[in-house]
Symmetry: C2
Subunit: 334 residues, 2 copies
């Protein structure tokens, strides 16, 4: 099995953080970029006893102005193209408070990259149009940063295991495309006709469920959606469930998996299996990914494979994906 | 204008916390009770530079097992009847970690109250069937606890202003019922026919928007819903907006208000005002509530008044409210 070195941008950022007093980490972004902050916090929560953290939408962060934001804060921000104005404003706001700012962006010359103290680049198929290796994704970079922090502040060094796992991730994703293909083929004709499709997840997978709901189903297909937390489901949302309800359940491999197992049982008891698309990571060949990081890396597999499902739905609905937007990147005055 | 003393249960809890080292606050609950934890954290974020905090669904908390949970943690839990099994389990889990646990419940002899170190009672119309004064609600009690913590750990004493404001809150709610009644009367016939109704809010109001979406619209009326954060709206969800889309927008008075103003403008530009129910707290008579706490107390007004709207919808749909559940309190084996 292969491995890889620590990303040089991450290494540079960690070198700048070294020796600095940090007593809070803020993960700040909008929309799809915000969705990666949830699994980043999940990893930090389980890796560090020293660093408290928060995840905020960038405009919420700036207007809430939490008093914990000080010169002892590390603020990690992300915007793919680096042009999201709320995230750029949040960077400037954090720097004014004296915090150290680290921005993830695919564009080194973007407004976000220019506003931040430190920049970590990443790759996205969305911007280049060509497939990337998942080891170069935003998830892969932010996870390296998180475990670098845990090593520095808690003395827990899991970086080698993470790097080895990341190096073998793309192969696992490629195999997962084949595993899930028949399921997607089966479900696409039914889901293409739905007016509402819920996603459901817990733990490390919640961000991927959120992103698929708001950035794919709502944004690109105008299908009503919500990412329901797998346990919150039982405290209200489950009452909408009937034989026609469409759900995509993400059964991951982190320590919260029992929550999705309980939801799976309930969904199949009162829903119809025709409308319950269950993606179970336990069915996948994850060789090369260390046990301890399977839970953290599975959301990348879910999200990557689900794009193909989205394109299938788009074809059937005769609604192209990115071109289907009414407002985003079409209007410029909101 | 009247005032009121600090709640004796809160005072007792604060006395037990006094002198103890606390370096993290966890706000933990499920569903409707989880919804009050978001505004509690919002208040703590703006009142304390010393206390980091997290909000977790109770089952997520227990299975995630954040490493920040130690004997230096304060864990605040809530379950109305005190029988929510995930919240009781979270209390036991936190105590095992050595944390100090404070439970809010309407029932002093409930499993939750018995499991926790300290108990704070509150009143709910839901359990007693009779109207309560909002100064005795879960919000009112947890806010007193939060500001008691800020006083203790940050030396910022805003309790008198909060207590005075709480004493005058019910009168403001009663006036708001009258203000909003014509709006509810107007919108109910159209909203009763909708299959999807979104709620939208930011800051202190997000919890009320979440609760109305999952505990009222989804749970009691089987209407598809989601609480959309007012800025996240622009990063995906807004693409579902057309002239038929139904939204309930909570325009509050805290520092995040500009986010809802921007959303309001966009909604009215591309949606239809017939389907956009805007509750604007700026239109209300809030005399007796100090300026500094109007933003924090407005969600109680939104949530209380919206119950009447929910009953109107229920009448028109011929679907009773609490009796309409298929699963909750009807099934006992899930």
């Amino acid at each position: 099995m292969s491995s890889m070195p620590l990303d040089p941008d991450v290494a540079r950022a960690l070198a700048q953080i070294e020796g600095r007093k940090i007593d809070h980490v803020f993960f700040v972004a909008c929309g799809g970029s915000l969705s990666i902050m949830h699994p980043a916090k999940f990893m930090l929560d389980q890796a560090s006893a020293r660093l408290p953290s928060d995840v905020y939408n960038a405009a919420e962060f700036t207007t809430r102005a939490p008093r914990r934001l000080t010169s002892d804060s590390l603020v990690v921000l992300c915007s793919m193209t680096g042009t999201t104005k709320e995230t750029v404003a949040a960077t400037e706001f954090a720097r004014k408070a004296g915090a150290l700012t680290v921005a993830l962006s695919t564009e080194a010359a973007s407004p976000l990259a220019k506003a931040a103290d430190l920049v970590i680049g990443f790759e996205a198929p969305y911007t280049t149009g060509v497939p990337i290796d998942a080891k170069d994704s935003n998830y892969a970079r932010i996870y390296q940063l998180v475990l670098g922090l845990a090593k520095m502040f808690d003395g827990v060094d899991q970086l080698d295991s993470l790097l080895g796992s990341l190096a073998n991730l793309q192969a696992a994703i490629d195999r997962a495309h084949d595993s899930f293909a028949p399921i997607f083929e089966d479900f696409a004709p039914r889901f293409a006709k739905k007016n509402v499709i819920y996603t459901m997840a817990s733990g490390a997978d919640y961000g991927a469920a959120y992103s698929f709901a708001i950035c794919v189903l709502m944004e690109m297909q105008w299908i009503n959606s919500q990412a329901i937390h797998a346990n919150e489901f039982f405290h209200g949302p489950f009452e909408v469930l009937d034989k026609e309800s469409a759900f995509i359940l993400f059964k991951g491999l982190d320590s919260t998996r029992p929550l999705t197992e309980r939801a799976d049982t309930f969904l199949h008891r009162f829903g119809s299996s025709d409308n319950l698309l269950v993606l179970d990571a336990a069915s996948l060949d994850l060789s090369g990914i260390d046990e301890e990081f399977r839970g953290n890396l599975v959301p990348l597999i879910f999200f990557d494979t689900l794009w193909r499902f989205a394109y299938k739905i788009a074809d059937l609905r005769d609604q192209e994906m990115l071109e289907a937007r009414r407002y985003m990147k079409k209007l410029h005055d909101y």
